[in-house]
Symmetry: C2
Subunit: 168 residues, 2 copies
């Protein structure tokens, strides 16, 4: 896991691979080559991704013989979520996955121009969430906040463009 983690990491005692193996064992499932290849690949980069992106990456990375099939990719993604290694959420019309195991709780800013997801952390938000929940006698297990809008780069790009237009 020598990749850029904008929010730092959470101390965990097992690697994702080990953690997945443990999870599989506890469900009497097997740690097959396909599953190993997929956890390895998924945790070799930190970007958010969707099923289709992963399918394409897998198609490129592995040759026809050793490549996990579409069905296996979908089945494994479900297990990784179930195992708590990945989180799945919905942005716009896409279902995207991100690392959960070994990565701190956070939320997202979603730019609707470039589709980029920016992560941020806010303790105040968690406090607010717990306060609201308490008011409603609600037992919290989690939350998801997505702030939508336009990111800094897209704003300045737009501004530059407007300026150029005005000059003509």
């Amino acid at each position: 896991m020598n990749h850029e983690y904008s929010l730092g990491a959470v101390q965990v005692s097992l690697t994702p691979q080990e953690r997945f193996e443990e999870y599989l064992r506890s469900k009497k499932m097997r740690f097959t080559q396909e599953r190993r290849a997929l956890v390895d690949h998924v945790f070799s980069q930190h970007e958010h991704f969707d099923a289709n992106t992963l399918l394409e990456e897998v198609a490129e990375k592995f040759d026809r013989k050793s490549r996990p099939s579409r069905a296996t990719v979908y089945r494994t993604l479900n297990e990784l979520v179930e195992a708590g290694l990945l989180r799945k959420f919905n942005v716009g019309s896409r279902d995207v996955y991100e690392h959960d195991y070994g990565y701190p709780q956070h939320d997202h800013l979603h730019c609707k121009k470039c589709e980029k997801l920016i992560e941020f952390q806010s303790d105040a938000l968690v406090e607010l969430r717990d306060r609201v929940a308490q008011d409603y006698g609600f037992r919290v297990t989690g939350h998801r906040l997505i702030i939508t809008g336009v990111c800094n780069e897209c704003r300045t790009a737009k501004r530059r463009e407007r300026r150029r237009h005005d000059l003509l």
Copy 2:
């Protein structure tokens, strides 16, 4: 609109029907019987709903002759979102719709036991959101927060059940 609105209403000058008519006119589209029937129905109750629920309600409320088709229901839902009358969001695996026009900004608690959605309003959240966005030079257009967990009723139901079990 004489239905229970837990968060009160926002002052608007047009009824949803009128607002939709205006929107349609601005796009050179027509206010047909089907569209009228659908806005009327959708704004006659305040519950969150999904496309399928609406389809079933429509099937029950109208007879075969005057009932908008599946295609028209989907097409109209998209227009209602586009027009700003409805908002669509994703909870778990469902896409649900809720009133937007004439209804204040709010967020949700989602009970994963009974699937209920509880609305709440928090100015502090909006402030927090804007502060975070500012830190990132992000221009906010909106947000969506869903707090997941177990609602009060389901918690007490569970507790009652546990107690009964302990007594046996």
